[in-house]
């Protein structure tokens, strides 16, 4: 009987010791990092998460061309002729581009020369190289056809300042509106990493079409 109690006692002590060896030691010298490394499975090859958007700034230099009806008034006689505008603009824009589409907001300032008249039989008026200035904003939304080509719509909201000089007394000469809102259908080409070529065309008013063609430097 004593032998049985001694066997159970020794077995119990051995079992207890064995269980005690499996329990984690509270005063372990392993560092948390080492523990974490030991518990982390072997690294797997995974794709880098895709950038959700790309932001860039840009400065642009563009040529603007458009035509407008030239309203002529002399006394009680009215007539309409043609006016052509030819100028350059400097712009600053911020662009956000996603995988398939993007948008930008920009502001521009420019100046140029206008010519008008010469076609009316009712009122004699003909002027060239009349200075004008423009300034405005040009938000744009675009669809990316490929990494280097996108097409979209640009809204142009701009103010135009021009004083058509009189050719003779008692004349009032005006062309178009001073404040303009219009849309351009456009195409933007990434020529180099930082250089874009932009071209856009759209209706300014009835019978009037505006072109904007230029380059943007992105940074």
């Amino acid at each position: 009987m004593k032998k049985i109690f001694l066997f159970l006692f020794v077995s119990s002590l051995l079992a207890h010791t064995a269980l005690a060896q499996e329990a984690p030691s509270e005063d372990s010298e392993e560092t948390p990092a080492a523990t974490e490394a030991a518990e982390t499975p072997a690294p797997k090859t995974t794709a880098k998460p895709r950038a959700k958007s790309l932001e860039s700034w840009g400065v642009g230099l563009s040529a603007l061309q458009w035509n407008e009806p030239l309203k002529l008034q002399q006394g009680v006689t009215n007539d309409t002729d043609y006016a052509n505008f030819n100028g350059m603009t400097l712009s600053l824009q911020k662009e956000i581009s996603y995988y398939r589409w993007g948008w930008s907001m920009g502001a521009f300032l420019g100046s140029g020369r206008a010519s008008g008249g010469g076609n009316s039989s009712a009122i004699s008026y003909e002027k060239g190289k009349v200075a004008f200035t423009v300034y405005g904003i040009s938000p744009r939304v675009f669809y990316r056809l490929s990494g280097r080509i996108n097409t979209g719509l640009t809204a142009m909201i701009f103010m135009k300042n021009i004083d058509w000089p009189e050719d003779a007394g008692n004349q009032t000469i005006n062309s178009g509106r001073n404040t303009n809102l219009m849309g351009l259908m456009d195409l933007n080409i990434r020529l180099f990493q930082k250089w874009d070529f932009y071209s856009g065309i759209g209706p300014l008013a009835e019978g009037a079409t505006l072109w904007k063609v230029g380059v943007n430097y992105r940074f």
Binding site: N67, Y82, G117, S146, M185
Partner: protein, 387 residues
């Protein structure tokens, strides 16, 4: 990174927007083909396509909607010969090229006018003296309708005929009547860099061309003596040099000079060119230059003018493209002279083998220093058939 999915709406929209003139085009640098000799017998482009050019046209440029999906590209390429898949003897390659143009000037106005012109009616015959095509005779007989060929309408004429000798892979010699070497030979012969500067579709000239070609650059020297159909006093005699350098793949820059003189006029031209592939099938190219013309009969001072052209081809899907061409020219930069600007926007389709369609809308502006001028509009459609 091409992720545009074709939708018929885009094509319809492009048609509504109106959409100028194309052949195998310098724009095809977008497909990686930066040298014209790949597809043409003439190393500077234009004229008949060689066998490789025909196959490429059928399998890479043209849509394959009419072919079963399981049909291999090699089978389509094999059908691109003059007689389809039937092989011709190695020493002969015939060809036919037709281009028709419908145009409507000032659409919507009372003065609107429209007409249809058979622009190009060519029959090509190319003969080889040996299987390696070291010595080749290239000829094109053409018929002109309303467009006068040196004063003659509705007549057959020998448009081009020349011997091409391939001395080795780096030197090609051309002798006979062929297009003068200068600038970018885009298909629209009415563009500011073509007809207006003596490089139109009927301005081939008798002469000698030596074309040196290397992987990264090429240069051609051309001595010419006028077209055989011209009167002697009209024949422009002179020389031209044109070269291109490949900065990196799908990006080339180049330059050209030309100087020629007849009893009537003297021309000096200088141009800078660039072509860049953007993504598969899409490209942008530009040419800008000076043009100096002296009218010897009027005994006036030379007029020094400028011109520029920017052409963008955007491939939507195989066979379907959007085309934008912006042109600018000024007759005399030393005096007050009008600036003319033209923007053509439209579609360039290759829907079926051997067939090409174009629809374009053109807005033209004139800027004068003294007075205003109305815009001009034009609609045009073209059909090209190549056999």
């Amino acid at each position: 990174m091409k992720h545009f999915k074709f939708h018929p709406v885009f094509i319809f929209a492009a048609l509504l927007l109106g959409l100028n003139q194309a052949q195998a085009y310098p724009d095809f640098i977008g497909y990686g083909y930066s040298s014209c000799i790949t597809c043409h017998y003439n190393g500077h482009g234009g004229g008949a396509l060689n066998d490789y050019g025909r196959a490429l046209y059928a399998t890479e440029i043209t849509a394959r909607d009419i072919f079963p999906k399981k049909m291999e590209e090699e089978e389509i390429a094999a059908q691109s010969g003059f007689l389809g898949s039937k092989q011709l003897p190695w020493w002969i390659r015939p060809g036919i090229k037709y281009r028709g143009l419908w145009m409507k000037m000032d659409p919507g106005s009372k003065s609107s006018m429209e007409k249809y012109i058979n622009m190009q009616n060519d029959v090509n015959l190319t003969l080889f003296a040996d299987k390696k095509q070291r010595l080749t005779l290239v000829s094109t007989i053409s018929y002109t309708g309303l467009e006068a060929y040196y004063g003659k309408t509705n007549t057959w004429f020998a448009k081009e005929y020349y011997l091409r000798w391939k001395q080795n892979n780096n030197l090609w010699i051309y002798l006979g009547q062929l297009d003068k070497v200068f600038g970018i030979r885009n298909v629209d012969h009415t563009a500011v860099n073509r007809k207006a500067i003596t490089l139109g579709q009927f301005d081939q000239s008798q002469g000698l061309v030596a074309h040196f070609t290397y992987p990264d650059w090429d240069i051609a020297l051309n001595a010419f003596f006028g077209n055989s159909a011209q009167e002697d006093n009209e024949k422009q005699k002179g020389f031209s040099i044109a070269g291109e350098y490949q900065v990196y793949e799908k990006f080339k820059v180049g330059g050209s000079v030309l100087s020629s003189e007849s009893d009537i006029a003297k021309w000096n031209l200088l141009a800078f060119t660039t072509r860049m592939g953007l993504s598969k099938g899409s490209a942008i190219m530009a040419e800008a230059g000076f043009k100096e013309k002296t009218d010897k009969l009027a005994n006036t001072d030379a007029q020094l003018g400028t011109y520029a052209l920017i052409e963008t081809l955007v491939n939507i899907r195989r066979g379907y493209n959007i085309l934008s061409v912006i042109e600018h020219s000024k007759t005399d930069i030393n005096k007050s002279s009008p600036e003319t600007m033209r923007w053509s926007l439209g579609a360039l389709f290759f829907p079926l083998p051997r067939l090409e369609f174009r629809t374009m809308v053109t807005n033209a502006k004139t800027y004068m220093d003294t007075a205003g001028a109305p815009d001009a509009w034009m609609l045009q459609g073209q059909v090209h058939v190549s056999y």
